[in-house]
Symmetry: C2
Subunit: 653 residues, 2 copies
Amino acid sequence: MSFEAAVHAQAIELDRLAIDMTADSGSGHPTTALSLGHLITVLMFRTMRWSPDFPDYPTSDRLVLSEGHAVPIVYAAAAKLGTKVGKDGDLRKLTLADLKTLRERDSVLDGHPNPMEGFPFFDAATGSLGQGLSVAAGLAEAARIDGFDKRIYCIIGDGESREGQITEALDIIVERKLNRVLPIFNCNEWGQAGRVSEQQSADRIAAKLKAAGYTVKVIDGHSPKQIDEAFEAFGALTDQDAPMALVAKTVKGWGAPSMQGGGWHGKPATGEALATAKAELDQRRVELTTALSSSDAFTIEPPTEPPAMAEPTGEWPSLPETMKKLDMESVLHTGKLATRRAYGIALRALGHVDPRVVVLDADVSNSTFADAFAKDDALASRFVECKIAEQNMVSMAAGMSAGGKVPFCSTFAKFFNRAYDQIEMAINSGANLKMVGSHAGITLAADGPSQMSLPDVAWFRAWSTMKDHRGNPGCYLLQPADAFAAYALTGVMAEYEGACYMRTLRAETEFLYNEHEVFNLGGFHVLHKGRDVCICAAGYMVHEANRAVELLDQAGISATLVDLYSLPFDSDMLLDIIMENNGMAISIEDNYGGGIGSAIADAMTEAGDAFTLEQMHVRRIPKSAKTPDEMLQMCNLTAGDLVAKAKSILQVV
Amino acid sequence: MSFEAAVHAQAIELDRLAIDMTADSGSGHPTTALSLGHLITVLMFRTMRWSPDFPDYPTSDRLVLSEGHAVPIVYAAAAKLGTKVGKDGDLRKLTLADLKTLRERDSVLDGHPNPMEGFPFFDAATGSLGQGLSVAAGLAEAARIDGFDKRIYCIIGDGESREGQITEALDIIVERKLNRVLPIFNCNEWGQAGRVSEQQSADRIAAKLKAAGYTVKVIDGHSPKQIDEAFEAFGALTDQDAPMALVAKTVKGWGAPSMQGGGWHGKPATGEALATAKAELDQRRVELTTALSSSDAFTIEPPTEPPAMAEPTGEWPSLPETMKKLDMESVLHTGKLATRRAYGIALRALGHVDPRVVVLDADVSNSTFADAFAKDDALASRFVECKIAEQNMVSMAAGMSAGGKVPFCSTFAKFFNRAYDQIEMAINSGANLKMVGSHAGITLAADGPSQMSLPDVAWFRAWSTMKDHRGNPGCYLLQPADAFAAYALTGVMAEYEGACYMRTLRAETEFLYNEHEVFNLGGFHVLHKGRDVCICAAGYMVHEANRAVELLDQAGISATLVDLYSLPFDSDMLLDIIMENNGMAISIEDNYGGGIGSAIADAMTEAGDAFTLEQMHVRRIPKSAKTPDEMLQMCNLTAGDLVAKAKSILQVV
């Protein structure tokens, strides 16, 4: 059988399976699947170097299906090849019979690619569009660091390529010469609600790719020969070559004219329409090949052995030790240091003890202090300057995590806001993602609200109310109040497997701790023990609360002060402490509501005892002010405001 | 004085003011400002048709400063021209003396453009990068609808143009032929942490713009003649011409070599460095012009009179009336209708009574049912298909709001997630933005978690804990449980000025209300009055709770059911009701925690009485399941789970 005939036979078999599978499930996107039958056949049966027995083998070539809704065609190929599926190491071969379980509650075949639910062939959960190419770039960057000769294929929809994140990823691939990534644009001309824009036509996409620095091949995405030649050309690229991109002209609903055109997005064929579509595909097969199936016609080249990997080495030094090494002892003696600086110092120490650690930043590394890592010659090759493109940074970090790295991303806390969808998809992917947002809250003051993170605590707290696939909180939210806490928590994050978000501060803050203090995910510290009222604060507000405790003491009020540096926290222990303060508590935060105050309120009301909580937080859109103190005044969050609040709830005149 | 000499003189005067202003404030971005001195001079003193006395006049040409940190140069020009500033109609002329107040607490000169704090020359708060061009596109679209001959100039940083949202905006400008927008790329070659990427070099940007369909002019951004000629060419464009874009090669810190190169981003000159920079600028002036000042050399053409605008006409019809008109009476008789369909029907009715209403969607209008508006010939010209680019959609809507429209945006609730930064900036801008997220929560089931909105309620709730510039909640969060509620709330949103987010559902839901029920922002409805426990639910979960109330009744437990369709809500009234239920409450939600449960917990703990609240919400990352019921089982959120929870807290065996 000729290669062409074999590809057609195999593609049509997969197409039929995709149509049947979505018909069985009653939902899904068969027509998008059909536009990819030939591309997936050549990729998975011939071009990719991988092993169905070890679908997540580290040196395997990877497929990132950015247009996740096309997944039935990949499931069909995976079943045909007996690819291993399953969770927690309990793997078995996927069978054709399994395809009937698409989208079922107990199936490994989720509605969109979902590796953590038992399909380890994929590295990332996709389905929210525009993110896959960044993941692919991250996989390539990780492979480059490890010296793996690994190719990453990424399939992107034409309509999908309207998402700006795609251009962010295209830029970083050129910039960092990640030419082991092949972006494949599936130009099938139909979106969900209508035709794809002329701005995303195959020709326009090709022109844009060329302008961005790519060598572009425009092919017929249903021509086995053209597909194969393009992949061969990609495989022949040397390190010196410009990255390549493929623009594949395809047909949505290929082979089944009755399912083509508008109105067929996300719609399975049923009844007569199903029979018609399958008859049309059979007719197409008769025209193109004599074979019913052809998987035997292909040989898959296996991945190579991975080289021995570097392991974490020994203990990491304390903050004073690291600062001494960096000739920063004099800074230590000032008794204060911004938490963002401590993060930078920690990153640098961490880089030397843990070779898995990589750092990404978005053109603000001299503000977040991630540049401490970038400027260390021994670490610089593990630093990725992502420029002003936060969405790409987060998804690329997710890709690096899938490639075995421990990625720390930093930018202003405010700007993580624009990557929340990417963060969610990374958490769904099980990514070991560490996010550090600097200039958190309102105390950056002068720059004004466009640079302030205000609803961030509420959003990340939502992730502390549920569990990830490992049974841990979806994300830990950490708010160190001083440099020792920030330094320690950076180390804690690196050791933990899962997502964390740490808020650091622009302003210098005084030391509250020393190098012997232990910080845990889920922990908190009692900084002052009183009996009348329990003040709960985090980050910058711990310092304001500290001043309030002194003022209250002078007024004869004995206040407890809790540094609630972690969300979630041990709520039973906290409630015990509040109970020792007659059930009276005040929370104070430098962000909008829904944050640590609400976390305490949740715990109190679940316990059901008579607690009182006054929440102090930002209750207006802030504007610029010259200093943190002025800003706190504007938002009624000074030590004085806290004292007044305490007196008011204790009914002290 | 020659035009060139006049521009140089004026630009250098503005440059000096920008340096002084940032020196006085002790923070800000003088070098970025200096890269724009000439462009801003020609724009604000000559090219733009506007009036300093009426800086927000509807037919004025507009300037969107997407790279908001450059704002001191605009403040300098505005002061020089005596532009009116102030809030709430209390306007006065900005003076040169005012410039000393930059970034002060009581100043109208905020750290970044901030129209709501007293600088109405701007339409949108900027400073979080990459959003301005979308706002400009929205302003142009609004002007097109109104028949205004209005040009919109948008200045974008070269580093900033890495943000993918810029390409989303570039695409929609070409697609919708919005050639009254002029994107101006300020290519000064330096970012914050280092040089701008080669991917954002002037040449590369120009090539990309051409590939995207623009006529591109590359100019020296400090040549008065080249700037003027470019603006003239732009002014001469006819409706048939392709959009134009300007790539301006500029110098960061122009005229002051001592402030050029790396290390000067966001850093004012002080002391000797300040004196040096000013001396350098003075020297440059001597070389270029004999004049110290030249504002008299320019004439600003005023804006034209706006035509009479269409006003809202009369009452809008009830849901049954509208459905009758649409031949959908038979649907009404089924007793159920998805809230997303009711939204579409409401939009269509609204479009006919309120000419300000415009609708934007992101290629899912046949899922959100915004297509009901798009398909009505009388309304189609007010529908904007934004394709798969949610960030651009939201910022464009903010621009349309600034242009006097009432924009409704819709996409899946999940996908608003990727525009949260844009939503925040829109709220900061005072935008009258209505967001409707369909397929909310988990009951869409089969598509899996990549399509589910899960932390959205927590994020939007944060905005219900604070106040916007008008003294209202930053955003209302609405969760209609049936079609009557969704229809009514769509109308309520249109009448209200401010941001709202409404969650609609994929699934059909039974009618709970009729056309006589009144829904208010901040309201709730008691659907069942009991005495043992108060169940609070919203959206889909109201129906599950309704079933639970019946089951509980059979078990001898008398439950109250509150449809908490709005956040915020009247907490005193709700607590009274819970108190009538012995202080016992259960909340049930189809999202992660931090949502309505936490809102109730906040209210309870502030009141300080002995309440008990059990919060039921999604506590795992969901996966696909075939039906809403299966999904609710997976997440332990069925009526049965609710009954068990009620029995448990009431200690009924």
